[in-house]
Symmetry: C2
């Protein structure tokens, strides 16, 4: 495949620009065909690059002093951050200088700027944050993970189109199953928007298999390939799952330290336990996708390390290799359109 | 302490009346001062009791043929289930024949009937389902777990009063810390009702310490003693946590089976692992409390077994021993009252 260029917001995240530059260096080894544009303060980035000859060969620094703060309101960042490292990295995708952008910075600002600069795909009102995660059956996708606090039926239907497109292209599921996250599988339960969305999705024509409502425990079970939900619920579910995984891991750790025999048992099981640790390593699942945009944009966790940031770059490259945007655009064209009348009426 | 009588909906749950009767037999051993009223079909209950002489001495069957179905709409159950085992068990508490009621039946019906018969405590509009769960620091309480899909600020403030009262009496925390579950700790994020409730709770006078907003991962961390949320989010969070715990347990199980050394390691660590299994056993946390009612009502998981149902009975007895209703009534009297003006204005 042809060369790809990834724009990196070198100043985004808790440990920028170190983590970004070192992450790019790992990604460079994995993807010899990729080049990088590093947006940010040259005085801080250049010294980090000095010891990385190979990365220097495929990376170019685009200097800017301006940085979006982690606690900045999205609306403020949009107005006053026009020369920020985040904004210039997104602009590079819009202008064709880069194929995709990765940032570990302020999520709300990244979403607002990406929507403003890249625009949404035809028919999509609001982009959604999607990520894949481990399940009993393999891997599934969930969205929205926090971009949209209030969601109506149209948004949820859009997210179903975006999520199934993600599962088709990146997870390689030709007919992904998907469900709406609710509090009960009976039709009588849950928010009105969920029931309206469910009625529309039952008639939907885009590739995928709608199973109806699913519940919180279906997420880890892998009952469906794609979990569709509003950004409030999705964010709480994601963080609850992360917290619970850490809790159980800590309980297991304490268990192995609780007796001499258990400690010896741990030593014998250690190689296998290390494999498990890798399997559920949150860094492995770092890199959430801003779906619904007319361009590839990936959000890395702000507190991730070098390995995690390299994985977020992997996600962007994966989306590009699988033609995620073109495939999603096609799916949008076959999207259910019962909302057109509403829009015309309003 | 004086004798207690627990009314049991003997026909509620997936494996009724077997699980209910056998669960009562375990509870009877743990609590010699407790008597039981078993509501349901005598023809099914009596044969189960025949081999349990000691239970028969402290249990009385109150016959009724009528049973609330698991999939019955709460409104239908309320209208047409006046002679159901569930309803008669609740009536027994209202009439003073029993001190508390435990049911593994239809949650919505139990909530609707309990609210109708027992009424809510002064100032409480809607009861909430609360349960405790394991955390890194010990145990915490979360509510609402599914009774109220849509919640306004008043409901959330009520739940804070009810949840802290639960933590004070049953978990023995004199000044429980509590937080509102949200998607970010910054004031700019989340639903409007959360912000309104937060402003009121900052001025609140009831015993407890309000820490503001918490996120999904704070649940398992044990950041606060009480997590306050709407019933939709709480139900999704609870089930997501349960699903994730099962996933990690399964991953650990597979890890021990993945190599001979790991298998030997498991044998050595087994006694310690069994202790862990007991610690995170969902049956241990069975028994959700219908808080805000003028009476003790406990909901057991519908699919639980004998041990789980006995634990739900334990929860009811614990609430009675700790004078939960009287303590909660006192807390309600010191509840913030900024809503009175709204009520007067509307």
């Amino acid at each position: 495949m042809s060369r790809l260029t990834i724009a990196l917001d070198a100043m985004g995240g808790d440990n920028a620009p170190q983590v970004v530059v070192r992450g790019a260096n790992i990604a460079r080894q994995r993807h010899p065909q990729v080049e990088f544009l590093l947006f940010g303060r040259k005085g801080e980035i250049a010294p980090l690059l000095s010891g990385m000859q190979r990365l220097r060969d495929v990376a170019r620094i685009v200097h800017t002093d301006d940085v979006v703060r982690g606690d900045e309101k999205p609306s403020v960042a949009l107005r006053s951050g026009r020369n920020s490292s985040m904004r210039l990295a997104i602009n590079a995708v819009h202008e064709g200088a880069a194929d995709g952008v990765v940032s570990a910075g302020n999520t709300g600002a990244l979403m607002a700027m990406s929507k403003f600069v890249l625009k949404t795909l035809p028919g999509i009102d609001r982009p959604a944050i999607a990520s894949f995660f481990p399940t009993l059956k393999g891997e599934s996708v969930m969205l929205d993970l926090g971009a949209n606090i209030y969601c109506n039926a149209k948004n949820l239907v859009d997210f179903a189109v975006l999520g199934t497109s993600f599962a088709r292209t990146v997870l390689g599921q030709p007919e992904p199953s998907y469900g709406l996250l609710n509090v009960g599988s009976e039709e009588i339960k849950g928010h009105e928007a969920l029931h309206e969305a469910s009625a529309i999705l039952r008639e939907a024509r885009f590739p995928g298999h709608f199973v109806g409502f699913v519940e919180g425990d279906d997420i880890a079970k892998g009952t469906v390939d794609v979990i569709v939900t509003d950004g409030f619920t999705g964010n709480v579910a994601l963080k609850t799952a992360e917290g619970t995984a850490k809790l159980i891991n800590e309980f297991v750790r304490r268990t192995f330290r609780s007796s001499l025999l258990a400690g010896i048992g741990y030593l014998l099981a250690r190689p296998a336990m290390n494999k498990l640790r890798q399997r559920v390593d949150p860094r492995r699942y770092n890199g959430a996708v801003l779906t619904g945009l007319n361009g590839v944009a990936v959000k890395s966790h702000g507190g991730t390390d070098t390995i995690g940031f390299a994985n977020a770059i992997d996600v962007a490259i994966d989306l590009l290799k699988h033609d995620f945007i073109a495939e999603t655009r096609k799916a949008c064209e076959s999207m259910p359109r019962p909302f057109d009348n509403q829009a015309a009426a309003s």
